[in-house]
């Protein structure tokens, strides 16, 4: 959330890359780094570039054993 300067109510199905002005390529990479350190995982290239929406991200994180 902090990587994209978002509030809680902006999270959800509609959230996707470029759907909010703060989710651009710079923010994307910052968010990936934050996720990697928060959950102590190492994302593969394909997952980093596939992480294009909130829902997609949830699926990818699940693959790494991250549970919500």
């Amino acid at each position: 959330m902090e990587s994209l300067s978002l509030t809680l109510d902006q999270l959800g199905d509609a959230l996707a890359y470029n759907s909010v002005p703060t989710w651009d390529s710079v923010a994307h990479m910052a968010m990936m780094a934050a996720l990697e350190s928060q959950f102590d995982i190492m994302l593969e290239t394909d997952d980093i570039i596939d992480f294009s929406s909130y829902n997609k991200g949830m699926q990818i994180l699940a693959k790494y054993g991250v549970e919500f």
Partner: protein
């Protein structure tokens, strides 16, 4: 003839492709430019000024070429420029035409639609005639991220000369297929388009960033041969584990837009050497159209902290503070450049558009540099207070003034990719974070706020920037 007048003769070769269905031959690009050109006939005396909000798309390239071909001076702006900044620039320069994506047309209430094509519309405003110097082709932002009205005035000769020089040292041919990684409104992004169109190559135009899967699909499907990056691009590529990607078509990587650390230069130069690719470290400025020097790929491992040697047709030297040429090797002074690509000068208001050639081909870069015995240059610092954050130039003095105008005492400092705002009043931290984020559009990871006891000043009351870090 300049490359923009020459495009039709390249006929059925492919000029632009988006990788998402749109393909334009040079002839059809000339047709698209001609069509728009017919509507750029201002019903007034003097040359018109146009604003172009340029996405990396065929409509924007055609509109840019139409302006060059019709003698319409064009100010390039990012397609996502903040509405307030756009309104303020339009109020300052009062352009006759605004060419922009259809969905933003309502932001120019005085504009009447004259033409539309694809996603773009051409608006004509009731602006009074404006005196514009006859050499002026293009106006580009110098410190886009601080929303300054200051624009660099580039001439037709500047554009033609720099495109030809870049095409020469990169060895661009009709077989090249660069994929866009930078906005066309940014001089480096535009120089990629100019230099390749000047040689009849095919530009793969995309708005997708390297953080998106679509970008890599397009690169592979379109067999792109080169990509351009600012330092931040190369840091992202490293995180994306670029070294492990299978990209057989890619032959050339270029880097400019700020200093890339010698460790990363060495890393990319090694990777490229092993993969049979060429890695060009380059140096330039909007004030020099785009490019001033480049490091030949075969010297990158030997001189990874060098900005290289002057581009074809350019000349560089080092000057003392009193303006004397310093001839010996390894003497530090201001880096000065001379060449046909040195811009005419700046504009900060509409009246400045009438100005002629203020620089007469010589640019004092504001960078402190030295030259080695082989004639290669090294930037060791800056005379002026600019840093680059993720490829955006941030004028520290200007930013400081903006924050102080909010009634907040502060000092701005830091280094490339890490802007620091020093505050005395800790309770204003969040306000400043938000303000800087909104004003500059920079991501939070590119700047931080530090609280200090007092603003350090020397005897004469000047801020002692060197004591802050």
């Amino acid at each position: 003839m300049a490359f923009w007048d020459d495009i039709r003769k390249r006929g059925s070769s492919i000029a632009l492709t988006t990788g998402e269905g749109e393909v334009l031959t040079y002839a059809s690009l000339a047709d698209a430019a001609d069509e728009l050109e017919r509507h750029l006939d201002a019903q007034s005396i003097g040359r018109p000024l146009a604003f172009l909000l340029a996405e990396n798309c065929p409509e924007a390239v055609a509109a840019y070429l139409a302006c060059l071909r019709s003698g319409t001076a064009v100010a390039m702006q990012p397609s996502r420029i903040h509405a307030h900044l756009l309104a303020s620039l339009i109020a300052t320069y009062d352009p006759k035409f605004v060419i922009l994506p259809r969905e933003r047309a309502s932001e120019v209430p005085s504009g009447n639609p004259r033409w539309s094509g694809g996603r773009y519309v051409l608006l004509e405003t009731p602006a009074a005639p404006c005196a514009i110097d006859e050499q002026t082709a293009l106006l580009v932002s110098t410190s886009g991220s601080t929303g300054s009205p200051k624009l660099v005035r580039q001439s037709y000769r500047n554009l033609a000369a720099n495109a030809a020089s870049i095409a020469e040292y990169l060895g661009i041919t009709t077989a090249d297929r660069p994929i866009t990684t930078l906005p066309m409104s940014y001089v480096y992004g535009l120089s990629v388009i100019n230099s390749h169109l000047s040689r009849g190559a095919t530009v793969v135009l995309t708005e997708h960033s390297i953080a998106e899967k679509e970008f890599w699909n397009i690169l592979r499907n379109e067999a792109a041969t080169s990509l351009a990056g600012v330092p931040y691009t190369y840091e992202m590529l490293k995180r994306l584990r670029f070294s492990r990607m299978d990209l057989p078509s890619l032959r050339v990587l270029t880097q400019a837009g700020g200093r890339l650390g010698p460790e990363l230069v060495t890393e990319y130069a090694t990777l490229c050497r092993d993969a049979g690719r060429m890695f060009f470290v380059m140096y330039g400025a909007a004030e020099a159209t785009a490019r001033m020097s480049y490091l030949p790929p075969d010297r990158a491992l030997e001189k990874p902290s060098s900005i290289g040697a002057p581009i074809p047709g350019g000349e560089m030297w080092i000057e003392s503070e009193t303006g004397q040429r310093l001839e010996g090797p390894d003497v530090v002074g201001e880096l000065v450049y001379r060449g046909e690509n040195v811009s005419l000068g700046y504009a900060i208001c509409r009246q400045d558009l009438a100005r002629g050639d203020d620089r007469q081909g010589v640019l004092r870069t504001g960078d402190l540099a030295r030259r080695d015995q082989d004639g290669y240059y090294y930037v060791v610092g800056r005379k002026s207070r600019f840093i680059k954050v993720f490829g955006n130039r941030v004028n520290l003095d200007e930013l400081e003034q903006h924050i102080r105008a909010q009634g907040i005492e502060c000092v701005c400092g830091g280094q490339d990719d890490k802007l620091r705002v020093f505050l005395v009043d800790a309770t204003r931290t969040d306000t400043v974070l938000r303000f800087v984020e909104q004003l500059t559009g920079l991501h939070r990871s590119g700047f931080e706020v530090k609280v200090i006891d007092a603003i350090p000043r020397n005897e004469s009351g000047k801020v002692n920037y060197a004591s802050l870090s």
